[in-house]
């Protein structure tokens, strides 16, 4: 059974190296004392110190975090409702339109989503005077819209695998629908809700293209700031930011995996992509 072809092993090793070498190199060079990014100037934390002194950067990071938390929360709530309705309600009015609108953002090029939302906000401002200016609010709305689609995929996968007899039993025993929903359905869906929230959170925190379109003067998110800096090449303080983000992600993912068991949130991300 286990034949090992040297060629296969080489390709696989190359593939994993491709996935990890860039990340590892950035982490190592974030501790580089030299300003020249490619020369090793000894271990140093100077880039981390310079991050703390960078007010623009801290502001952008805080703004991004705020947007990510709010949009992930709304996206999870709205997405869960859509997933439940598509899964449970047989004769849903406009089901086709709803399921079309909720899958389309997954495949729509970001640049078009961004452009079209900007046009909407401009038209709305023209028509009803809201939003008067673009910024954190419009970015949050945009992020809720595309994150919802991912939440629906994750929650639907969970619903498909879920045993509904417990809810039926509770209902038969006279439980009120709302009580049954919060006492039984929500706890059973919790792993998917956590996955969906984390997925939305990371997508929001990472979004450059859509935010760039729907943002206005004064609202610069972290990816927008990073993009402006790295367009000019490698800058050591970005290495430090990357390392901090990697550390946070690893902690969150590991914790979430432990909490929610084997089929944790880590497994959910390719599920949305692979549609399996």
């Amino acid at each position: 059974m286990k034949r090992r072809s040297p060629m296969l092993m080489t390709i696989v090793a190359f593939g994993y190296a491709l996935l990890y070498v860039p990340i590892v190199s950035v982490v190592i060079y974030s501790f580089n004392g030299s300003r020249l990014v490619t020369l090793w100037g000894g271990f140093s934390l100077r880039w981390y110190a310079s991050l703390l002194a960078d007010k623009d950067l801290l502001g952008a990071a805080l703004l991004s975090l705020r947007i990510a938390i709010v949009s992930a929360t709304f996206a999870t709530a709205l997405g869960a409702i859509v997933a439940l309705a598509l899964h449970r309600v047989n004769r849903l009015r406009g089901r086709l339109l709803l399921s079309g609108m909720i899958t389309a953002p997954l495949v729509m090029p970001e640049i078009i989503t961004g452009l079209s939302l900007l046009f909407l906000f401009i038209s709305m401002a023209d028509l009803i005077g809201w939003p008067a200016s673009r910024g954190a609010t419009t970015i949050t709305i945009a992020h809720i819209t595309f994150s919802m689609a991912y939440v629906v995929v994750v929650v639907r996968a969970r619903l498909a695998a879920m045993d509904e007899s417990l809810e039926e039993a509770a209902m038969d025993l006279g439980g009120r629908p709302v009580a049954v929903f919060f006492d039984i359905t929500v706890p059973m869906l919790l792993p998917a809700l956590v996955s969906g929230w984390l997925l939305s959170f990371t997508l929001s925190l990472d979004d450059l293209v859509i935010s760039s379109f729907v943002s206005g003067p004064g609202a610069t998110t972290l990816p927008m700031l990073i993009f402006a800096k790295v367009r000019l090449g490698v800058t050591p303080d970005i290495n430090a930011i990357t390392t901090i983000i990697i550390a946070l992600v690893v902690i969150i993912v590991v914790a979430a995996t432990i909490i929610s068991g084997r089929r944790g949130p880590v497994a959910a991300r390719p599920a949305d992509a692979g549609g399996q």
Partner: protein
Amino acid sequence: MSDGTTNDGGHSLRWLRRMVTLPYLWLLLFFLAPFLIILKISFADPIVAQPPFTALLEWGEQGFTGLKTTFENYAFLFQDGYYGIIYLASLKMAGIGTLLCLMLGYPMAYFIVRQPPRRRQILLLAVILPFWISFLLRVYAWIGLLNNRGLINNFLISIGVIDHPLTMLYNDFAVYLGIVYSYLPFMIMPLYANLERLDLDLLDAAADLGARRWQAFVDVTVPLSVPGIIGGCLLVFIPAVGEFTIPALLGGADTLMIGRVLWDEFFINRDWPVASAVSVVLVLLLVAPILWFQRLQRREQEAAP
């Protein structure tokens, strides 16, 4: 939404029906309406104003008086060969990137499936993990590696393979590398899911019956994994066509990809009607692969136990 007195599960679903109105309206307003607006603007004339395009619908005292459209933006796209070249170049870049991704992803998926369950889990997790780290920052990481004075060139020079640094950054090579690197997990996951369902014993039987290993692979494994191959390729190809970040950070000035051109058209040239027309054509180009992918997914779902 009507109230759910008709059937399906009785009163318990009534409030779900009501609740779903909220996300429904949300999507109508923030997903469908924007798209209709972009369609509308693509038929408008550019003017020097805010917003910089003419109104499409004219409202008189008796209400709606006429529809003002111009096909000029589209005519411009097709007459001016520039955009045709860019669309073709984007399709080519995405296509080649997808093939390279398949050439790397297929052996990896094949290898992972053949491992014992525990190791399989770990290897799969290792494929997915980078995905949780910012896409932008992962693309950025390549700048430091591919630079003329970057890690790869320094390494190659130090071991004496080359004298002069290779130009690996700000060209098409870097963009292909970026596509393969960024979308590799999208390729591996559907391939893995497909290969996992195949009966590997069948393949071993073919080998036992005297088929050479390579021949058994080509005659048996590859044909059986076609759905996984198509699924993975579409998952890479569809987002790669409209990709912005990778060509913007790793591509050269002559790397033409539609996502980047659209960005410039909008932010630099500020020609919104043309940018809208470019978007509409891009969506039309992607409709076929998207529908193909959805059909594939439906069939997979029906086939799954």
